[in-house]
Chain length 228, copies 2
């Protein structure tokens, strides 16, 4: 196992997170760093999905990953095995990252030539949804074992995400999970959410996901050019 | 589907939650209401485990259930199907319940002859661990698909729980989950935690769990008698 850098994140002192997030988004646009905020419940497969993502497009864009957790460095160690740039962020018990905390993480990561920065947020369907991190796009993973009713119970998370990956579709035969009902529940919360069923274990659906991600980055680059 | 009562919980105004929790615990002891605080990630199987629990011991103790969620009433509707007393609590976006919020829930439930009150907390491994609800015992569910490394990432939750139920053991063959390693990780956080593998779908392990629960209630009754 390679040693990974661990950054202890300090709690933010800024009252106006939305303003901090907009500023960070502007700065990242100027630097050409597309920031993806990846959220989910604990154990939905964020790190496995990132491993597949890096394997699929790591040669097309320079990827840097921030692994946020309350404790441990197991995820950063896993990502380090992919060869991607990575830093482990410790939130000191906090249940989410806000824009100022994300800024600390990006500074710790030393973005440099990074074109796609990915924040793996704390595993939690409630608090991370309440804080704009300054990301260009919000993604979330819902895994099959969690059930198709989650959009009913965690409305905000589903309403702020641009894309919902439905992970662990390889175990669909063993769970009472209605894919059609789940997509219906997601679109009730957010009609514009892109939904992509995937399996981070087998790689199924990863192409559709990474194509979507690269496409969003292209659109974002064109928007930046137009606004200059 | 039966109609269930829904209570909109108000945010607490008390600064000293630990004091509120101790007061509530004392009052519940005087009333003979054993309160269990049940926590887990979203979709770990809290409601299914409660259904099995009610089926197993609902004729031995009078059970009342509080289903806390940010939105929806699907869980309370499910529990209502068991015939147990139930109320749905809406937290208004809040990620946890504290003692004063739990008190509101108990008042809404109208405990009356309830001997075992169960709070199904918001699905979240972070925030609920930080707030003493006034419960006699804390229980949590970790499900197999979430992975055996969760005690490393969510230390507080595992350290405050008296019992950890490892749910969905029927799907062990389909996941890379090392039961021995998981129990080792749990005991690293909390050497005194009782660990019980269960399957809420098939009923496996439910007897061991409900025996433990009834036993804890017996001990608690004896303690109450001694302190009088």
């Amino acid at each position: 196992m390679s040693d990974v850098r661990i950054l202890e994140i300090k709690q933010s002192v800024f009252a106006d997170n939305d303003k901090q997030a907009d500023e960070l988004r502007r700065e990242l646009k100027a630097k050409g760093v597309f920031l993806l905020n990846l959220m989910s419940s604990p154990g939905s497969g964020k790190t496995s999905t990132l491993m597949q993502t890096i394997a699929a497009i790591g040669d097309k864009v320079k990827i840097g990953v921030m692994e946020a957790d309350i404790d441990s460095d197991v995820d950063a160690k896993t990502i380090a095995g992919s060869g991607a740039k990575v830093i482990q962020l410790h939130t000191g018990g906090m249940c989410h990252l806000d824009a100022a905390m994300t800024r600390q993480g990006l500074e710790g990561l030393e973005t440099g030539d990074v074109e796609l920065a990915i924040l793996e947020n704390v595993g939690n369907l409630v608090c991370p949804a309440e804080f704009d991190t300054g990301a260009s796009k919000n993604a979330m993973i819902l895994s099959v074992p969690e059930g198709d009713d989650k959009p009913l119970k965690y409305p905000l998370m589903f309403s702020i995400c641009d894309v919902v990956l439905i992970n662990k579709i390889d175990v669909l035969p063993y769970f009472d999970f209605d894919m059609e009902k789940c997509i219906e529940n997601i679109h009730m919360r957010n009609p514009n959410a892109k939904v992509i069923p995937i399996c981070a274990k087998t790689g199924e659906g990863i192409d559709e996901w990474t194509n979507w991600l690269l496409e969003q980055r292209e659109i974002w680059i064109k928007e930046a050019e137009l606004s200059n």
